[in-house]
């Protein structure tokens, strides 16, 4: 048999080969490889590689101080998840905490000391020499001390009660004196109002509402079911898992819709509404209770008695102010009286700043009338700061609102908490002259501290240093935790205590310590040892998830060791309060006149030009405050979905919008008597007619867009001029230019 190679057979072979290749897996393999190859461009990010480990810490992105379990790949902090069984967060964490790892690389993160080009909010930041900046500040401090001045210097601590707070006070003390300032947020303002109803001679205590112990809850707009876990227990009312909830809210919020009773009251009518409920409690429901009668009839000097004041707040009269019927007011008061322990909470939307001292006092007075304070009630009483660290601190804290304008030459601002609402103009007004400076110790060129600052000295980001986290305001129990670092800070980020030490050195003060960080660590250790030595409370150890009595710790430094691995100290004890120490009209009866002045509701100001004014409520989208620096991934909530509008969108009732000719999505100018801002209109049927709602944060810069200038949203409500700025009159007009 011969093998003849013909042209025909050659062509057939070649044709068969081509067909075979086409039908073989080879082309698909080539396509697949090409696909894989095109996924490996150098510009595509590559995840870190390395052994995976977990480390526990405490979140410092808001005062709640939730437990976080950080996932590390090698030395990279890649994500954070809840800590099961953590006493503060009950195994839960909010979106901020979930994305905490991104904060270290936030586009607004500073990479050196930075100075604003001009004292304008939209002025760009210029990188400056940190040593030169410290030398300049040191010279200012030295000159001040040489003059023997005791004024002009202040430090604003946005998160008081920490070990750093103690170091700030020591710093001021060694500089010959200075003001240690705080700026109460909505929670702190509420707690402060409670203190005003207690005699000065009584045991100082902070209110600790415990929802789990209440049979009924009346909330004045508090976002118990809105936002990021308002602390309200989930579950079915009929199963007894949660208290009977009554929500006072102008809008159909998630809390209002989930409440057992939703009371649609006009914004600004909270004080008369609370006093009308007190009127019912005192005069109808509880008039047979000698305890209530004694409280209501206690004389307050010229102010008379609480019962006498309540004559001006009958349900019929208040009905006209609140929009609620007299019967609704009576029924609400009776529900509270019949379902005790009852709890009444104020605060409102914390993103909108304080509810108002008068409103909060009226709310707390309801709790006192209902006998909610004490072991049988739902309102505990903690030592004033949650924990008394016996630090003998000097100087004492002063509210920023209480110092005169034009009185400061140098204002240092602690920016370790990137989310506090700080009205920029309020800070700027305190400066004495053009040479006066606001210096922020912050990791970010955005956020609360940097908002008003001329100079920012870069500090580590949350998760890069050990801060301590004292009891959150209005928490049910006292607690204490540290935030052990889960990542190393970059070279340019300097521990805030180290900045203080450098400033002391530059100003010629010979401090009692050479290393700020060492001093801070010593203070942390002192606090842990002090807590342990008192032998009170329990300790949660995340290593095994167990909670044990502190008395079981043998080693005197054991608590410090547990805190250093992300543990938490917890104390459920509560102080006692004697009815004889209660002052329902304030310590000097001053509340009577202030409440009467609000009998018609809190005025919202005027828009001024005769156009149809609406009522603007400034609030917090998810309780996010203005200036909060947020992980960029939160864009998913604010830009990539319709879930939350952020601070760019002004929401209003569709019928009102149609009446004003404002279509959904159009650009509009929002003008109050204090400021003007460009917004996008959002039709929101959950709002009542004539009400406009604007979230105070986050803005584009806070979400990671460094190209956007910062704006001071709070100033729309006149935050630098009014103690309550969540409510103001506003005019909305469509902006028709194409560049809007």
């Amino acid at each position: 048999m011969t093998l003849d190679l013909t042209r025909r057979s050659l062509l057939k072979f070649m044709g068969g080969a081509v067909a075979g290749v086409v039908l073989s897996p080879m082309p698909w393999k080539l396509l697949d490889d090409a696909s894989i190859w095109t996924q490996n461009w150098s510009r595509i990010a590559r995840p870190p590689r390395g052994p995976i480990s977990w480390r526990d810490t405490t979140c410092t992105l808001c005062p709640a101080g939730c437990g976080l379990r950080a996932r590390l790949v090698g030395t990279s902090f890649v994500s954070a998840w809840p800590v099961s069984g953590h006493p503060r967060s009950a195994g839960l964490v909010c979106p901020l905490g979930l994305a905490a790892a991104q904060m270290r690389f936030h586009p607004a993160r500073l990479r050196g000391a930075a100075r604003r080009e001009a004292a304008r909010i939209d002025a760009p930041w210029l990188v400056v020499d940190a040593d030169g900046a410290v030398t300049d500040l040191g010279r200012r401090l030295a000159v001040r001390r040489a003059r023997g001045a005791t004024d002009g210097l202040a430090l604003l601590d946005l998160r008081p009660g920490r070990a750093m707070s103690q170091l700030y006070r020591e710093f001021l003390d060694r500089q010959g004196g200075g003001l240690y300032l705080t700026l109460p947020d909505a929670w702190q303002a509420s707690a402060a109002a409670f203190g005003g109803l207690i005699a000065a001679s009584a045991v100082a205590g902070a209110p600790a509402p415990d929802l789990s112990r209440a049979r009924s809850v009346l909330s004045f707009g508090a976002p118990l079911h809105d936002g990021w876990r308002g602390g309200f227990p989930a579950g079915d009312s009929e199963n007894g898992h949660r208290p009977y909830l009554m929500q006072i809210d102008a809008a159909a919020t998630a809390t209002a819709l989930r409440a057992d009773r939703w009371l649609v009251a006009r914004p600004g009518s909270e004080a008369p509404l609370a006093l009308a409920l007190a009127h019912v409690l005192v005069n109808e429901t509880l008039n047979t209770d000698p305890r209530v009668a004694a409280l209501a009839d206690a004389p307050h000097g010229p102010a008379g008695s609480f019962r006498a004041l309540l004559a001006d707040f009958s349900p019929e009269r208040v009905s006209r102010v609140t929009g609620l019927s007299p019967s609704a007011l009576r029924d609400t008061a009776r529900e509270l009286a019949n379902r005790r322990p009852a709890l009444v909470v104020g605060v409102g939307d914390p993103g909108g700043g304080p509810l108002g001292a008068e409103e909060e006092a009226a709310v707390w007075s309801l709790n006192l009338l209902l006998g909610s304070v004490g072991p049988d009630g739902a309102l505990g009483l903690l030592p004033a700061t949650g924990i008394d660290f016996a630090d003998g601190a000097s100087p004492t804290a002063t509210s920023l609102n209480d110092i005169p304008d034009g009185s400061l030459d140098l204002l240092l601002v602690d920016g370790s908490f990137p989310g506090a609402p700080v009205p920029r103009e309020l800070l700027r007004r305190k400066l004495r002259g053009p040479d006066s400076l606001i210096v922020a110790l912050s990791g970010f060129a955005g956020g609360a501290a940097a908002l008003a600052a001329d100079l920012v000295l870069p500090t580590p980001a949350p998760g890069e240093w050990t801060d301590d986290v004292p009891t959150p305001t209005l928490a049910a129990h006292a607690s204490y935790a540290w935030s052990p670092p889960v990542a190393a800070p970059p070279d340019w980020a300097v521990h805030p205590a180290e900045w203080l030490a450098r400033l002391e050195t530059a100003s010629g003060v010979t401090g009692n310590f050479t290393s700020g960080r060492a001093r801070h660590e010593a203070e942390l250790v002192r606090r842990a040892a002090l807590l342990q030595s008192r032998g009170r409370g329990q300790v949660f150890d995340p290593r095994d998830g167990n909670t044990t009595g502190i008395a079981n710790l043998v080693d005197p430094n054991a608590l410090g060791s547990v805190l250093a691995r992300g543990g938490c100290w917890l104390d459920t004890a509560s102080l006692a309060l004697d009815d004889r120490d209660l002052r329902l009209l304030g310590r000097d009866g001053e509340l009577a006149a202030r409440w009467r002045s609000l009998s018609g509701g809190r005025p919202g100001g005027s828009a001024g030009d005769g156009a149809e004014p609406l009522l603007l409520t400034i609030g917090g989208d998810l309780a996010v405050a203005a200036g909060s620096v947020m992980p960029p991934v939160l864009n998913k909530l604010y830009r990539e979905s319709e879930l939350h509008g952020g601070s760019r969108k002004a929401a209003l009732n569709p019928a009102t919008a149609r009446r004003l000719g404002l279509a959904d999505g159009v650009a509009a100018e929002l003008r109050t008597e204090h400021a003007t801002r460009r917004v996008v209109i959002l039709h929101d049927p959950s709002l009542p007619p004539d009400l406009v709602r604007l979230a105070s944060g986050p803005g584009p810069l806070e979400l990671g867009d460094p190209g956007e200038p910062q704006t001071d949203i709070l100033e729309l409500g006149g935050a630098s001029q009014r103690p309550v700025w969540r409510l103001t009159r506003v005019v909305l007009k469509e902006v028709r230019d194409v560049n809007a």
Binding site: D32, S35, T38, Q39, W41, R43, I44, A45, R46, P47, P48, G50, V73, S76, S79, W81, P82, L92, V93, C94, P95, L98, A99, A101, Q102, R104, F105, P107, D226, G227, W228, R229, A234, A251, A252, A254, L257, V264, L622, P631, P632, V633, L634, N635, K636, L637, R639, E640, S641, E642, L643, H644, N653, A655, P685, S686, P700, G704, D705, E708
Partner: protein
């Protein structure tokens, strides 16, 4: 036990979302994005160009204030047993894992035609309009268990397959056969601060997810289409349960049927 294409499965992962507990906080969206290396689009991009493997929609009853009521509805991929996206994909980039019931997306096969997006009645698929780029340094926070996807491919929820793999590795290291069902939680379920998301094996009748999915308040989205989604929703509110109805239901008159029908 169930069979798909002749393969016997012991596991069919499914999810139950309690809408009465969801407050629209968005923790599921953030947890998902962190876990699955989902990037943020450029600032200049249109708002609808983002990637949200699970997206929370706000649905209302269509009435004006004060009768207005709304509910937040998290919608991930429904992992349909009869998934339209699988049928339309011309390059078999969408496949169902017969052993778990998870509908997976294979980005290396995807050619970006977006037929799957058009076919998905739940709008649960997203197109990667941009290269996955993070702010400088932030790639150091990416999850090493999940590869970032390239521009030009479709994406969707895969019930956190990276976590499933880790759970299998742990089970295997513990000496269990890899064919046995493993228990794990997707990122959204772990992140939800209200306990609204329950995840588990629907073939296990003792599992919580099975019990909830067969409760009186359970419903699924667009059931009339016959897609057989594995995500079940719960609500005690009748008007909320009606959001699962489709135009087909209306044609068939189901929309007017008494509640619970």
């Amino acid at each position: 036990m169930s069979t798909h294409s002749g393969v016997t499965a012991t596991t069919s992962y499914a999810m139950v979302i309690d809408l009465d507990k969801c407050t629209g906080c968005g923790a599921c969206m953030v947890g998902c994005a962190v876990e699955n290396n989902i990037s943020v689009p450029p600032v200049a991009a249109a708002e609808n160009r983002g990637l949200t493997w699970i997206r929370v929609y706000r649905v209302d009853n269509g009435k004006e204030f004060p009768e207005h009521r709304s509910v937040c509805v998290p919608i991930p991929c429904q992992h349909c047993d009869n998934a339209p996206c699988i049928h339309v994909c011309p390059v078999t980039a969408v496949q169902m894992d017969e052993s778990t019931g998870i509908v997976g997306q294979i980005p290396t096969r995807c050619m970006g035609c977006r037929y799957c997006m058009a076919a998905c009645p739940y709008h649960a698929r997203y197109f990667n309009w941009f290269d996955p780029i993070w702010p400088e340094g932030m790639e150091d926070t990416l999850n090493p268990d999940v590869s970032p996807r390239m521009r030009g491919v479709a994406e969707k929820c895969n019930f956190c397959h990276g976590r499933l793999d880790r759970a299998r590795e742990l089970a295997s290291a513990g000496g269990r056969p890899t064919s046995e069902p493993v228990t794990y939680q997707p990122a959204c379920a772990e992140a939800c601060p209200h306990g609204a998301i329950t995840f588990g094996n629907m073939l296990d009748e003792s599992s919580e997810v099975y019990q909830l999915a067969h409760g009186p308040h359970a419903f699924r989205l667009l059931e009339a289409l016959g897609t057989k989604p594995k995500v079940t929703y719960l609500s005690r509110e009748p008007w909320v349960r009606r959001i699962g109805l489709s135009r087909l239901d209306m044609v068939r008159g189901l929309a007017d049927a008494p509640e619970g029908a």
